[in-house]
Amino acid sequence: MRTPIAYFLLLAGILFAMGTVGVLVNRNALRIFMSVELQLNAVNLTLVSFARLHNDLGGQVLAFFSMVVAAAEVVVGLAIIVSIYRRQRTIDVDVAREMRW
């Protein structure tokens, strides 16, 4: 593989920054959630890049665990969004002000 590893890290950094912009700018809870997924994927790409750079499979295993945690997080997060929508009839994060009901 002759592509420099730094290019992959830069791509991951750009994608992470775009995910950050999505989290900061949006008010729709689903869009914020998608942006968080983008950030998680960028970090996974970084892990796999470093695994290749150091010839160490531990990075790939860590990315695998990260995917599992991301899947669990999506399941719980979407359930929370559905629950908030049932309660408030909107998923605007500015409207959701209280944590208990």
Binding site: M1, R2, T3, P4, A6, F8, L9, L11, L15, F16, A17, M18, T20, V21, G22, V25, R27, N28, L30, R31, M34, S35, E37, L38, N41, N44, L45, V48, A51, R52, L53, N55, L57, G58, Q60, V61, F64, F65, M67, V68, V69, A70, A71, A72, E73, V74, V75, V76, L78, A79, I80, I81, V82, S83, Y85, R86, T90, I91, D94, W101
Partner: protein
């Protein structure tokens, strides 16, 4: 030009363009589909980085399961009803973009200081995995990371139960005996009323 470079320079702009599309599109469904494209490009990057197992897992888990879940929730709540129209703070968008550009520059500086822009991956990665990437990952996973793997199974069970608890409607279960008693007593309220938490 080596084939790896070709694949990278074809799919990296697509990934970035899909991320931009996800940020600027008005429709939530389009945003989800742009995200699918982005995940597919990242999967190809895994393939270039000799992580064939993660390539398959990425496509199955992310572009398959997670995005189907997203689209399912979008359709469940209603596409036109989940649009959020409230306006943000007036400087929020420019400040976020400035911060993002600063972050990218900082990552570039850190990469340049850390490994340099021309460092190639060392050879010999194939020697680590004589029987293929999946078997090599499994060897590391089940020898060195077995306890975290087991903890992951607990995490998934807890997440599945949490999703069921959170997403259920608060409907009280009514047994056959209660139903019969209520029918005899001319119930005041319907079975299946909301129960106070």
């Amino acid at each position: 030009m080596p084939l790896d470079d070709v694949v990278f320079w074809v799919f990296a702009p697509i990934a970035i363009a899909a991320a931009v599309g996800m940020l600027v599109t008005r429709s939530v469904v389009y945003a989800a589909l742009f995200l699918v494209v982005n995940f597919g490009c990242i999967a190809v990057m895994y393939l270039v980085l000799d992580a064939a197992f993660l390539f398959a897992v990425q496509i199955i888990v992310y572009t398959g399961a997670i995005m189907v879940l997203f689209l399912f929730v979008i359709m469940l709540l209603g596409v036109d009803r989940i649009e959020v129209r409230s306006e943000g703070l007036w400087l929020q968008r420019p400040i976020a973009i400035v911060l993002a550009v600063g972050f990218v520059l900082e990552v570039a500086a850190a990469v340049r200081a850390g490994i340099g822009f021309s460092t190639h991956a060392p050879d010999g990665f194939d020697l680590l995995q004589p029987a293929g990437n999946a078997q090599a990952v499994a060897e590391v996973l089940f020898h060195n990371y077995f306890f975290p793997f087991e903890a992951t199974s607990i995490l998934l069970i807890v997440a599945a139960i949490a999703a069921m608890v959170l997403a259920q409607r608060k409907v009280r279960a009514v047994t056959q005996a209660e139903l019969g008693a209520e029918l005899e007593d001319e119930p005041q309220d319907e079975p299946g009323v909301e129960v106070a938490p």
